[in-house]
Symmetry: C2
């Protein structure tokens, strides 16, 4: 049982699309996919499904679902489904700010031809903080751009530097991309001290979570540094927040994951998970079981 | 002898940087590099250099130099030096328009949070018209983006479709990128008929020359189709031209090639060419000899 839009991309037998009304048509459900951005009702309904075995979320986040999962039901998240879309946006944000496409967009209504020599991504040193799905997807996308890319993870491993090296790495970085989860180790990790180590004109890109960066510290450094942010703290950013108009800052409204690439990838994951479950193979992305 | 900025990236012995004044210091010059965007004086001076053997241009375009090259002097162009920068901009233009980063930039001064589900490049079908240096550089950059890329050249060859197939290819394309030279076969190639074959919502990107596209036909299709243009006809586009404000159109001010990536690549080419010339190896990019 999956929500309508996602169902268009799911290829499994015995599929029921539930409209959120009477639960009678789904009383026998054994595998359940709540809608994207669903309210609590979409999770509460699981308590009335006596045969339920698996709840597959269409999101990487899962904290909101935990309180509602009945005992004995396996909860899987959607890790990976936003990687393509979010990594792609990171490239878009880098190019937009380095090449000043945002300034050019704003100059268009005035018919201003802002020709000048701007930065290119080619030859630049890029540090990607976060070596999970999004970080790896970003590295694959940057491979053709003639730039130098370093991935930084919690611990060093093949092709990945340790977070302990970050203080040194950011000294030489032209671009720093945040693509790591928000947790106690990353909250406000990018503070005034972090930003002060970045060189003049360097670019910080955030496609992770707003809370990783200290907003006041960004406002202080805006102009000396450049920022391209898909996420902010607070979020949504109030219309009168100074970050909207700070120099060298580009903001997209948290559109990293929710694109045309989303539904096919959820559909593919659900299809694969149902096949695994029916064949008795281990499920992917298990959060609780 | 090379202009100052380029000279910073040239590694050859017996280098003279000429300031454009008295020609006495360069009377013995045998290998000459005119400045980027130089006026006629920078070409006319060649007539007073009796020992000149090679003129290496810092541009891919060479028509402006032809009338000034003395008999017996070899003229080489800068084919390839803009490939990285221009291909990179093409990716930036695709992502800017598909993901509506231009609309977001314009909404920023109003503090508007334009969240919605927009298109991603992932899963899209991209047709690149032009299989030269820029087209190949663009294909390398698009490899990691989970999209389908077809290159179209004058004639079919390995990995390249023929221009005769273009009428069929554009019917299914989500993105068409123009990266071919302007000549009699390409002038106004993208006319009303061409655009009418593109599907609703498709995106045309032009990083080639403005004259390849019929501007009036674009204005007619703007809104049904999307456009991201680094070059236009006329150029520079007058401030009151309707293309600046047409729906679904993003314009950058001919900044494809002139970026931070330009000087190192010119310097590398000049260094390599001087070494070839001194060793008696064949020069690259020979236009006339």
């Amino acid at each position: 049982m999956v929500p309508g839009e996602i169902a268009d991309y799911v290829d499994v037998p015995e599929l029921t699309v539930w409209d959120g009304g009477d639960t009678a048509p789904i009383r026998e459900a054994r595998f359940y996919v709540p809608s994207y951005m669903a309210g609590e009702w979409a999770f509460e309904v699981m308590r009335g499904l006596p045969h339920l075995e698996v709840c597959q979320l269409p999101t990487a986040g899962y904290e909101h679902a935990l309180p509602w999962v009945p005992a004995g039901v396996t909860l899987c998240n959607g890790a990976g489904i936003h990687d393509a879309s979010t990594a792609e946006l990171a490239v878009g944000l880098i190019l937009t700010r380095l090449r000043r496409l945002d300034d050019m967009a704003r100059a268009m209504p005035r018919g201003e031809f802002l020709h000048d020599r701007f930065d290119a991504l080619a030859d630049k040193s890029v540090v990607v903080v976060g070596a999970g799905g999004i970080g790896q997807a970003l590295r694959r996308r940057l491979e053709g751009f003639e730039c130098d890319v370093v991935l930084v993870g919690r611990t060093a491993r093949d092709g990945v530097r340790a977070r302990d090296d970050l203080d040194d790495l950011i000294l030489e970085a032209d671009v720093v991309v945040l693509a790591l989860p928000l947790d106690n180790s990353s909250r406000c990790m990018v503070n005034a001290g972090f930003l002060s180590r970045m060189k003049d004109g360097a670019l910080l890109v955030n496609v992770a979570r707003g809370g990783i960066v200290d907003t006041d510290a960004m406002l202080t450094e805006a102009g000396r540094l450049n920022f391209a942010l898909d996420v902010t703290d607070p979020e949504p950013l109030p219309a009168d927040h100074p970050l909207w108009r700070a120099p060298g800052v580009f903001i997209s409204p948290h559109v990293g994951g929710n694109t045309s690439a989303f539904l096919p990838r959820v559909g593919h994951l659900v299809t694969d998970q149902v096949q695994r479950w029916q064949s008795g193979d281990p499920l992917r992305n298990v959060i609780v079981s």
